[in-house]
Symmetry: none
Subunit: 229 residues, 2 copies
DNA sequence: AGGCTCTGGTATATTATTGGTTCAAAATCG
DNA sequence: CGATTTTGAACCAATAATATACCAGAGCCT
């Protein structure tokens, strides 16, 4: 997700990737990492580069390496990214968004300011340039929903939405989600985003909430449609 | 990505964007930023401009740059996100519950089972024995709302509600909350809890949601009433 | 025990990449 | 207009990355 797709990976990048695997729990305590020569292939980097990454991780205490044997994980997974949030299914996530986002619309009407709306306008524009770029659209889409949450001035709500966004970004079904994003679907979303923004701007809480429900319903439909294929 | 059609970005704008990426968590501790030459392309600015932005960020302590290597995040761990939950105000919390719990009622109607309802019934009984014991009541009350969330079978929602419950327990205003809990108020809550349980049992989603809203409204009132004294 | 293979550890010469610097032209803004 | 910022380009020095070869310990099998 870091900016560019297939950029060449440096030692620091690889260290970051592995560090995240460990924090996330995909690599658990005492697991052995693949041999350096294999990692070198999977990450498309020379062995020396992998080596530097591992040395770095060892100094940080994430990993321990035993000559002739392998390198092993020595770190408990990060507490903050708990199982509940990692194992959330797409449907659980949709239900949660159904709970939160319509009400966020209402609160945004109450507490949103002009600067917020201008920012959301920018994001709408950006999304409308992304009809054929699902990845860029997704990014802007996430930002839009976060900007909406920021309107509420409610740190707790924003935090919760961020957690949810993390679920969305780290997942296999992010890929699946991108598949459902043909230019027609993106077009529909764009219209709905505009409508939401307008309703918030004109201070119509229930209308904004209802359009948001509609928006989420659209998203849920394309989700179930995708999982049937 | 998004560069081409965007308006022109100055050094300050770019610094702000990157700062945002760091605060949001997309760029974590020890991550290496893309090379200046790449950033210059993605942000549609000259390298010198990027350079200024980075120099600025370095002075602010967000980033550290090593010649020949790259520029790295030194994560000033973001206070707002980790403490968002601890610093939540009572009103923020009420708004969040207003978003979540009515919809949780609807989902509970969909997915709740007899065993769940029996458990909630027990908790209602327990609460009704607590007319004069605010602390014990609060405990059972928290359990009741969690049991309701468990009906949804949605791990993500349950997790979120648990986080919120943690906010509630750790706070000074827990004490304040106990003050508002005279036996009359507890009595009202008990009636509302019963009504919610019944509506969920008889599978009336909107009725359950509406009573929950009423319930939260009652709680919010006694909260504001308490903070005025 | 002996032999084989897989593992990390080390060394090195070469190439590629990155930040650091400078400068003059162009663009922007008050 | 004048002041400031941005641009684009070139070049430098520091560092990282690659490719290759060889070593030594661990583990497994006969």
């Amino acid at each position: 997700m870091n900016a560019l797709a297939d950029q060449k990976l440096g030692a620091a990048d690889i260290a970051a990737l592995i560090r995240r695997e460990i924090s996330k729990g995909s690599l658990q305590l005492h697991d052995r990492l693949p041999p350096e020569r294999v990692l070198s292939e999977t990450y498309g980097a020379a062995r020396g580069t992998i080596r530097k990454a591992l040395t770095h991780l060892e100094k940080e205490g994430f990993v321990e390496t035993r000559a002739g044997s392998g390198t092993y994980v020595v770190h408990k997974p990060d507490e903050t990214s708990t199982n509940a949030i990692r194992n959330a299914t797409p449907l659980e996530l949709m239900d949660t968004r159904f709970a939160l986002e319509p009400h966020i619309c209402r609160l945004a009407v109450l507490h949103g300011r002009h600067a917020d709306f201008d920012r959301m306008e920018d994001l709408c524009n950006r999304m409308e340039e992304c009809l054929d770029d699902p990845v860029a659209f997704s990014e802007a889409d996430t930002d839009f929903h976060r900007a909406l949450a920021e309107c509420t001035r409610n740190g707790l709500l924003i935090w919760i939405l961020d957690q949810i966004a993390n679920v969305r970004s780290e997942d296999d079904w992010t890929r699946m989600r991108h598949l459902t994003l043909d230019s027609r679907t993106i077009g529909i979303y764009n219209v709905q985003h505009r409508q939401i923004l307008n309703a918030v701007r004109t201070r119509e809480p229930e209308r904004a909430a209802n359009i948001m429900k509609e928006h989420l319903e659209t998203a849920r439909l394309s989700l179930t449609r995708a999982s049937e294929t």
